[in-house]
Protein backbone atom coordinates (compact mmCIF):
# COMPACT_ATOMS: atom_id res chain seq x y z
CA UNK A 1 0.00 0.00 0.00
CA UNK A 2 0.96 3.63 -0.04
CA UNK A 3 3.20 3.62 3.04
CA UNK A 4 5.06 0.51 1.93
CA UNK A 5 5.18 1.65 -1.65
CA UNK A 6 6.37 5.16 -0.98
CA UNK A 7 9.23 6.17 -3.19
CA UNK A 8 11.51 9.01 -2.20
CA UNK A 9 10.75 12.32 -3.90
CA UNK A 10 14.32 12.75 -5.08
CA UNK A 11 15.04 9.17 -6.09
CA UNK A 12 14.93 9.96 -9.80
CA UNK A 13 16.81 13.27 -9.60
CA UNK A 14 19.19 13.43 -12.53
CA UNK A 15 17.08 11.14 -14.72
CA UNK A 16 15.63 12.59 -17.93
CA UNK A 17 12.43 10.73 -18.84
CA UNK A 18 10.61 11.12 -22.15
CA UNK A 19 6.89 10.27 -21.89
CA UNK A 20 5.03 9.46 -25.12
CA UNK A 21 1.26 9.12 -24.90
CA UNK A 22 -1.44 10.55 -27.19
CA UNK A 23 -3.96 10.61 -24.34
CA UNK A 24 -3.39 13.87 -22.49
CA UNK A 25 -4.78 12.67 -19.16
CA UNK A 26 -2.55 9.60 -19.18
CA UNK A 27 0.44 11.65 -20.37
CA UNK A 28 -0.08 14.13 -17.53
CA UNK A 29 -0.44 11.34 -14.96
CA UNK A 30 2.72 9.53 -16.01
CA UNK A 31 4.61 12.84 -16.11
CA UNK A 32 3.33 13.82 -12.65
CA UNK A 33 4.44 10.54 -11.12
CA UNK A 34 7.94 10.79 -12.54
CA UNK A 35 8.26 14.48 -11.60
CA UNK A 36 7.08 13.71 -8.07
CA UNK A 37 9.99 11.31 -7.75
CA UNK A 38 12.41 13.97 -8.95
CA UNK A 39 12.88 13.22 -12.65
CA UNK A 40 13.28 15.78 -15.39
CA UNK A 41 10.30 14.94 -17.64
CA UNK A 42 9.58 15.78 -21.26
CA UNK A 43 5.98 14.89 -22.21
CA UNK A 44 5.17 14.30 -25.90
CA UNK A 45 1.96 13.28 -27.67
CA UNK A 46 3.22 11.39 -30.73
CA UNK A 47 6.07 9.49 -32.28
CA UNK A 48 7.01 12.58 -34.30
CA UNK A 49 7.11 14.81 -31.22
CA UNK A 50 9.13 12.22 -29.33
CA UNK A 51 11.77 11.88 -32.04
CA UNK A 52 12.00 15.66 -32.32
CA UNK A 53 12.56 15.95 -28.56
CA UNK A 54 15.23 13.25 -28.75
CA UNK A 55 17.03 15.26 -31.44
CA UNK A 56 17.25 18.21 -29.02
CA UNK A 57 18.18 16.64 -25.68
CA UNK A 58 19.32 13.15 -24.75
CA UNK A 59 17.08 11.22 -22.39
CA UNK A 60 17.81 8.31 -20.07
CA UNK A 61 14.49 6.49 -20.38
CA UNK A 62 11.43 6.57 -22.62
CA UNK A 63 7.97 5.60 -21.35
CA UNK A 64 5.78 4.86 -24.36
CA UNK A 65 2.10 3.98 -24.64
CA UNK A 66 1.88 1.08 -27.10
CA UNK A 67 -1.37 2.35 -28.63
CA UNK A 68 -0.09 5.63 -30.01
CA UNK A 69 -2.12 7.14 -32.81
CA UNK A 70 -0.45 6.94 -36.21
CA UNK A 71 2.86 5.23 -35.69
CA UNK A 72 2.52 2.67 -32.88
CA UNK A 73 4.67 2.45 -29.77
CA UNK A 74 6.36 -0.65 -31.19
CA UNK A 75 7.18 1.21 -34.42
CA UNK A 76 8.58 4.08 -32.39
CA UNK A 77 10.89 1.90 -30.29
CA UNK A 78 12.20 0.23 -33.47
CA UNK A 79 13.08 3.68 -34.81
CA UNK A 80 14.70 4.67 -31.53
CA UNK A 81 16.78 1.47 -31.53
CA UNK A 82 18.11 2.42 -34.97
CA UNK A 83 19.47 5.77 -33.70
CA UNK A 84 23.22 5.98 -33.16
CA UNK A 85 24.50 6.73 -29.64
CA UNK A 86 25.45 10.28 -30.66
CA UNK A 87 21.84 10.73 -31.83
CA UNK A 88 20.57 9.79 -28.37
CA UNK A 89 19.82 6.19 -29.33
CA UNK A 90 21.09 4.51 -26.18
CA UNK A 91 18.12 4.71 -23.89
CA UNK A 92 16.12 2.41 -21.62
CA UNK A 93 12.52 1.88 -22.71
CA UNK A 94 9.30 1.02 -20.89
CA UNK A 95 6.10 0.09 -22.73
CA UNK A 96 2.74 0.87 -21.21
CA UNK A 97 -0.55 -0.69 -22.28
CA UNK A 98 -3.87 -1.87 -20.94
CA UNK A 99 -3.20 -5.58 -21.62
CA UNK A 100 -0.64 -7.80 -19.92
CA UNK A 101 -0.64 -9.96 -23.08
CA UNK A 102 1.23 -7.15 -24.86
CA UNK A 103 4.36 -7.84 -22.86
CA UNK A 104 6.06 -10.36 -25.16
CA UNK A 105 5.40 -8.32 -28.28
CA UNK A 106 6.75 -5.22 -26.53
CA UNK A 107 9.94 -6.96 -25.44
CA UNK A 108 10.35 -8.37 -28.95
CA UNK A 109 10.04 -4.88 -30.44
CA UNK A 110 12.91 -3.57 -28.31
CA UNK A 111 11.45 -2.44 -24.99
CA UNK A 112 13.27 -3.30 -21.76
CA UNK A 113 10.09 -3.66 -19.71
CA UNK A 114 6.29 -3.55 -19.90
CA UNK A 115 3.79 -2.15 -17.41
CA UNK A 116 0.06 -2.81 -17.49
CA UNK A 117 -2.47 -0.07 -16.71
CA UNK A 118 -3.59 0.90 -14.16
CA UNK A 119 -0.01 1.86 -13.39
CA UNK A 120 1.15 1.60 -9.79
CA UNK A 121 3.12 4.87 -9.37
CA UNK A 122 5.89 3.54 -7.15
CA UNK A 123 6.33 0.49 -9.36
CA UNK A 124 6.92 2.81 -12.31
CA UNK A 125 9.47 4.87 -10.36
CA UNK A 126 11.23 1.75 -9.06
CA UNK A 127 11.39 0.34 -12.57
CA UNK A 128 12.90 3.56 -13.95
CA UNK A 129 15.39 3.59 -11.11
CA UNK A 130 16.35 -0.04 -11.68
CA UNK A 131 16.75 0.41 -15.43
CA UNK A 132 18.60 3.73 -15.37
CA UNK A 133 20.39 3.81 -12.04
CA UNK A 134 20.84 0.09 -11.54
CA UNK A 135 18.44 -0.04 -8.64
CA UNK A 136 20.57 2.21 -6.43
CA UNK A 137 17.56 4.22 -5.29
CA UNK A 138 15.02 1.43 -5.33
CA UNK A 139 16.48 -0.34 -2.34
Amino acid sequence: MAAEGFFSVDSLAGVHALVVDHDQACRDLLSSILRYCGALVTPTASSKEALNAMSIAKCDVVVIDLTLRGESGADLIRRIRRLKPEQGGVVRAIAVSGRSEDRDAAMGAGFDAHLTKPIEPWALCRLVSTLVLGGRSAE
Binding site: A13, G14, V15, H16, L40, I56, A57, K58, Q87, V132
Partner: protein, 137 residues
Protein backbone atom coordinates in the same frame (compact mmCIF):
# COMPACT_ATOMS: atom_id res chain seq x y z
CA UNK B 1 28.44 15.63 -10.95
CA UNK B 2 27.15 12.15 -11.55
CA UNK B 3 23.65 10.88 -11.06
CA UNK B 4 24.58 10.02 -7.50
CA UNK B 5 24.32 13.73 -6.71
CA UNK B 6 21.27 15.88 -7.08
CA UNK B 7 21.49 18.09 -10.17
CA UNK B 8 18.53 20.25 -9.23
CA UNK B 9 20.64 22.81 -7.39
CA UNK B 10 23.59 22.96 -9.69
CA UNK B 11 22.44 26.11 -11.51
CA UNK B 12 20.71 27.81 -8.60
CA UNK B 13 21.41 31.55 -8.66
CA UNK B 14 22.70 31.50 -12.25
CA UNK B 15 20.91 33.63 -14.86
CA UNK B 16 21.08 32.03 -18.31
CA UNK B 17 20.18 33.87 -21.50
CA UNK B 18 18.93 31.19 -23.91
CA UNK B 19 18.78 32.10 -27.61
CA UNK B 20 17.05 29.52 -29.83
CA UNK B 21 14.79 30.13 -32.82
CA UNK B 22 13.13 26.69 -32.75
CA UNK B 23 10.10 26.76 -30.41
CA UNK B 24 10.36 23.10 -29.36
CA UNK B 25 14.09 23.28 -28.68
CA UNK B 26 13.73 26.54 -26.77
CA UNK B 27 10.98 25.07 -24.57
CA UNK B 28 12.86 21.85 -23.88
CA UNK B 29 16.19 23.54 -23.09
CA UNK B 30 14.37 26.00 -20.84
CA UNK B 31 12.81 23.08 -18.96
CA UNK B 32 16.22 21.45 -18.50
CA UNK B 33 17.81 24.66 -17.20
CA UNK B 34 14.94 25.43 -14.83
CA UNK B 35 15.00 21.84 -13.54
CA UNK B 36 18.64 22.43 -12.63
CA UNK B 37 17.72 25.60 -10.74
CA UNK B 38 18.64 28.34 -13.22
CA UNK B 39 16.86 31.61 -13.78
CA UNK B 40 16.23 31.51 -17.53
CA UNK B 41 15.49 34.29 -19.99
CA UNK B 42 14.59 32.67 -23.30
CA UNK B 43 14.45 34.57 -26.60
CA UNK B 44 13.91 33.48 -30.19
CA UNK B 45 16.50 35.54 -32.07
CA UNK B 46 19.93 37.13 -31.82
CA UNK B 47 18.63 40.73 -32.01
CA UNK B 48 16.19 39.93 -29.18
CA UNK B 49 19.13 38.68 -27.14
CA UNK B 50 21.02 41.95 -27.68
CA UNK B 51 17.92 43.92 -26.64
CA UNK B 52 17.52 41.76 -23.56
CA UNK B 53 21.11 42.41 -22.53
CA UNK B 54 20.34 46.13 -22.45
CA UNK B 55 17.72 45.40 -19.77
CA UNK B 56 19.12 42.58 -17.64
CA UNK B 57 22.52 41.05 -17.00
CA UNK B 58 22.80 37.29 -17.60
CA UNK B 59 25.62 35.21 -16.12
CA UNK B 60 25.93 32.86 -19.09
CA UNK B 61 24.83 33.02 -22.73
CA UNK B 62 23.59 29.81 -24.36
CA UNK B 63 22.94 30.26 -28.08
CA UNK B 64 22.03 28.18 -31.09
CA UNK B 65 24.45 28.87 -33.93
CA UNK B 66 22.20 28.36 -36.95
CA UNK B 67 19.43 30.93 -36.82
CA UNK B 68 17.77 32.81 -39.69
CA UNK B 69 18.99 36.36 -40.44
CA UNK B 70 21.45 37.05 -37.61
CA UNK B 71 23.07 33.81 -36.44
CA UNK B 72 25.02 32.86 -33.33
CA UNK B 73 28.28 34.19 -34.80
CA UNK B 74 26.65 37.59 -35.32
CA UNK B 75 25.40 37.51 -31.75
CA UNK B 76 28.77 36.71 -30.17
CA UNK B 77 30.40 39.53 -32.19
CA UNK B 78 27.80 41.94 -30.81
CA UNK B 79 28.29 40.67 -27.26
CA UNK B 80 32.09 40.77 -27.38
CA UNK B 81 31.92 44.36 -28.68
CA UNK B 82 30.22 45.40 -25.42
CA UNK B 83 32.25 46.66 -22.45
CA UNK B 84 32.58 44.19 -19.53
CA UNK B 85 30.14 46.12 -17.35
CA UNK B 86 27.47 45.55 -19.98
CA UNK B 87 28.13 41.83 -20.37
CA UNK B 88 30.89 41.87 -22.98
CA UNK B 89 32.95 39.32 -21.06
CA UNK B 90 30.03 37.01 -20.27
CA UNK B 91 30.80 33.28 -20.75
CA UNK B 92 29.05 31.88 -23.83
CA UNK B 93 28.13 28.41 -25.04
CA UNK B 94 27.22 27.55 -28.64
CA UNK B 95 24.84 24.75 -29.63
CA UNK B 96 24.54 23.14 -33.05
CA UNK B 97 22.08 20.61 -34.43
CA UNK B 98 23.19 17.05 -35.16
CA UNK B 99 24.55 16.84 -38.70
CA UNK B 100 25.44 20.51 -38.90
CA UNK B 101 29.12 21.46 -39.14
CA UNK B 102 30.67 21.17 -35.69
CA UNK B 103 33.72 23.38 -36.10
CA UNK B 104 34.80 23.88 -32.51
CA UNK B 105 37.90 25.82 -33.54
CA UNK B 106 35.82 28.41 -35.40
CA UNK B 107 33.31 28.67 -32.56
CA UNK B 108 35.97 29.21 -29.89
CA UNK B 109 37.81 31.71 -32.10
CA UNK B 110 34.55 33.62 -32.53
CA UNK B 111 34.33 34.17 -28.77
CA UNK B 112 32.40 31.21 -27.36
CA UNK B 113 33.92 29.23 -24.48
CA UNK B 114 32.24 25.92 -25.26
CA UNK B 115 30.39 24.18 -28.10
CA UNK B 116 27.80 21.45 -27.57
CA UNK B 117 26.00 19.40 -30.20
CA UNK B 118 22.33 18.35 -30.19
CA UNK B 119 20.99 16.17 -28.84
CA UNK B 120 22.63 17.69 -25.79
CA UNK B 121 23.16 15.67 -22.64
CA UNK B 122 21.16 17.73 -20.08
CA UNK B 123 23.66 17.04 -17.30
CA UNK B 124 26.68 17.87 -19.46
CA UNK B 125 24.96 21.13 -20.38
CA UNK B 126 24.31 21.94 -16.71
CA UNK B 127 27.90 21.06 -15.75
CA UNK B 128 29.29 23.26 -18.54
CA UNK B 129 27.15 26.24 -17.53
CA UNK B 130 28.01 25.81 -13.84
CA UNK B 131 31.68 25.57 -14.63
CA UNK B 132 31.69 28.69 -16.83
CA UNK B 133 29.72 30.58 -14.18
CA UNK B 134 32.45 29.75 -11.71
CA UNK B 135 30.40 27.23 -9.80
CA UNK B 136 32.11 24.10 -8.47
CA UNK B 137 30.45 20.93 -9.80
Amino acid sequence: MGRTELPTDILKGIHVLLVEDDDDARALLQTVLRYCGALVTAVASAPEAVQTMQRVRPDVLLSDLAMPHQDGYWLIREVRALPPERGGDMPAIAITAFGHPHDVGRTLAAGFQAHLRKPVDPWELARTIASLAGRRT
